[in-house]
């Protein structure tokens, strides 16, 4: 049974300027000992779907449709009390901008022990020891000293590691990392990803890594979900996604990323990401797609399964499937 199962999730924000449909009909699942990557640019809805999983969508945002099941339990009907029990103990999340996600007026030690004490009802000393152990496990030097410091005294990389400790301190079944490497120096990013991988190998938890960086995905994930403008464009095993990308968006993305090992003619994707208030009709990518057909403008493509197990939402493939073969 998958640790997390998201089905047809729809999240919308009802604002002055109109309805922002942040997440539209998104489905994915993650099992234990597996790392799922959710990749997308700004406005793709990837972070919002994670917030929904944690029950953190606040008005004017609402979950308008769909189901989210954590270890078989439907969490969308949860009361605040139920969420309180779930967050931290069943699901842990690391937010973007680690420096800002930590409480600036509380010491690290305080923030780290709080979670453990609340969920495991441990004493102060026990929680402290546990926190220090975890800090050491994530390669933070001088763990005892760090416990006494404030977030602004730590570097970005260390803050990120502290957040990870906070998220895993009660051994949750699912760990969500939202843009864990953004803003960090390249050599530190590397260290962090190594850590994330180690964690999975040791703990066996399910992981979701949300990022816009395909390099991060390639290095850490088993499966990937590609999102664009609040819709899932495709889902695939890592090797399939990079080796044989099906969706025009994925293909175009891979072709537009500059490589370090050679100079190349970059082929950028024309146009820009649509405003969330004003999504195009039919397939959200159609204004920028080089394979647009008439049906793309009017009908939203459904996810179909390709012969190598990939899922892709594109009329190029669904049409052919009707005819019995796949492009």
């Amino acid at each position: 049974m998958p640790v997390l199962k998201v089905s047809e999730l729809n999240v919308a924000f009802f604002t002055y300027y109109g309805v922002v449909r942040a997440v539209n009909g998104v489905s994915y699942d993650v099992s234990g000992n597996e790392t799922l990557g959710i990749v997308g640019e700004s406005g793709s809805g990837k972070s919002v779907s994670a917030l929904a999983i944690m029950g953190l969508v606040e008005p004017p945002g609402f979950v308008v449709d769909g189901k989210i099941e954590i270890e078989g339990q439907d969490v969308l009907g949860f009361t605040e009390e139920a969420w309180y029990q779930t967050r931290g103990s069943k699901v842990g999340m690391c937010f973007q901008n680690p420096m800002r996600a930590l409480n600036p007026v509380l010491r690290i030690g305080h923030q780290l022990t709080r979670v453990h004490r609340k969920h495991k009802h441990s004493g102060k000393a026990e929680a402290w020891r546990h926190a220090v152990e975890l800090l050491k496990a994530v390669n933070i030097p001088d763990a005892e000293q760090v416990m006494q410091r404030f977030p602004h005294q730590l570097s970005g990389g260390m803050c990120q590691r502290v957040m990870i400790v906070m998220a895993i301190s009660c051994d949750p079944a699912l760990l969500i990392l939202d843009e864990p490497t953004t803003g960090l120096d390249v050599t530190i990013q590397n260290q962090l990803l190594g850590l994330v991988r180690d964690l999975r190998e040791r703990g066996g938890s399910a992981q979701i890594i949300i990022t816009h960086d395909l390099g991060v995905i390639a290095k850490t994930c088993d499966r990937v979900v590609v999102m664009y403008a609040g819709h899932v464009m495709g889902e695939a095993e890592i090797s399939s996604l990079f080796g044989r990308p099906l969706h025009p968006y994925t293909k175009a993305l891979l072709e537009s990323i500059p490589q370090i090992d050679r100079k190349m003619d970059l082929r950028p994707i024309p146009g820009s990401v649509p405003e969330a208030l004003d999504l195009p009709s039919g397939c959200p990518f159609h204004p920028r797609c080089s394979h647009t057909m008439d049906v793309c403008r009017t009908e939203l493509p459904q996810l179909v399964v390709s012969d190598d197990g990939q899922k892709v939402a594109c009329h190029l493939y669904s049409r052919n499937e009707e005819r019995g073969d796949l492009a």
Binding site: E41, S42, N139, S155, G156, G157, M158, D185, V186, T187, I188, Q189, N190, Q191, L193, G194, R197, H212, D213, L214, G215, V216, I217, A218, K219, I238, S239, F242, G243, A252, L253, L254, S256, I257, P258, Q259, I260, D261, R262, K263, M264, L266, R267, P268, I269, P270, S272, V273
Partner: protein, 328 residues
Amino acid sequence: MLEVTDLVMHFRVAGDLPFVPRVVHAVDGISFDVDSGKTVGIVGESGSGKTTVARCVLALYRPTQGDVLLEGKSIFKSRQALRRLRRTVQAVFQDPAGALNPRFTVGRTIAEVLRFAVPKERRERRRMIPQLLEQVGLHESLAQKLPHQLSGGQQQRVSVARALATEPRILVLDEPTSALDVSLQAQIVNLLTDLREGLGLGYILITHELSIIRQLSEWLIVMYLGKPAEIGPTGAVITSPRHPYTRALIASVLLPDPARQWEPPALLGEIPSPTKPPSGCRFHTRCPSAKPLCGELEPQAQAFSGTQVWCHYPVDDCSTEANSSSIG
């Protein structure tokens, strides 16, 4: 045309104790030069000093030591020299939205530059604005818009148009693509390439992304904690890096290629603070091949067929280490 010689920039900053200032050794001795049509890439992580170098070149800071020469004359010497600098060297900044005054329309932003830096008459300005917008691939109707009405990519293009208003010969590009979506980065890179060819510009490209450097610049400067680590032709430095830091940096680049084997992190430890740079070679605290000498003596430049390396034990072509982590 533009020469940076032995640039040193130290800042006095408030320390932890009152009345006890700290010195930030942002840049400690770097030299390079830029010419029309030539692109110099400066790569480094936080604390490397690369942004400070850019600001010194733009005369936003006055260097503690060293100099920046434009056509042989120091830009800090006279008002005239500064004026020449402002017309010859312009900049595009990192944050596309932050680089534009949120209350100025696009047209007004560009007009201001034309009015003060060049300067041009009102009629001239009105004529030039649509031209400049067109040059960066924007429609002239955008001149009436405010920054928040534009997308990130468009905002960045406006910054480029503004930079081109003075008809500069050299552009300083400070992380021009870092704040943009992936699908837009390639657009800007292509724009910059086209402009360089069309206008014969020289670029000083400052970024932490080696892949962008590879696309745009022929000359690469790798900086660490205010000092140069390795300087040379981009292709050579990336394919056969000799400084351990350069090697680690290249190995850390995450390629969108899952077929590559999992490699443990190339570099451990945190970047030291520029207020307390390590003794000797500044990289020695994290260097995998550090030896006792590295902590005591600062390395001088060593030349290897066109590349300069600041290391006591630079990697040579013949060693086995070189073959295992090089790329391409």
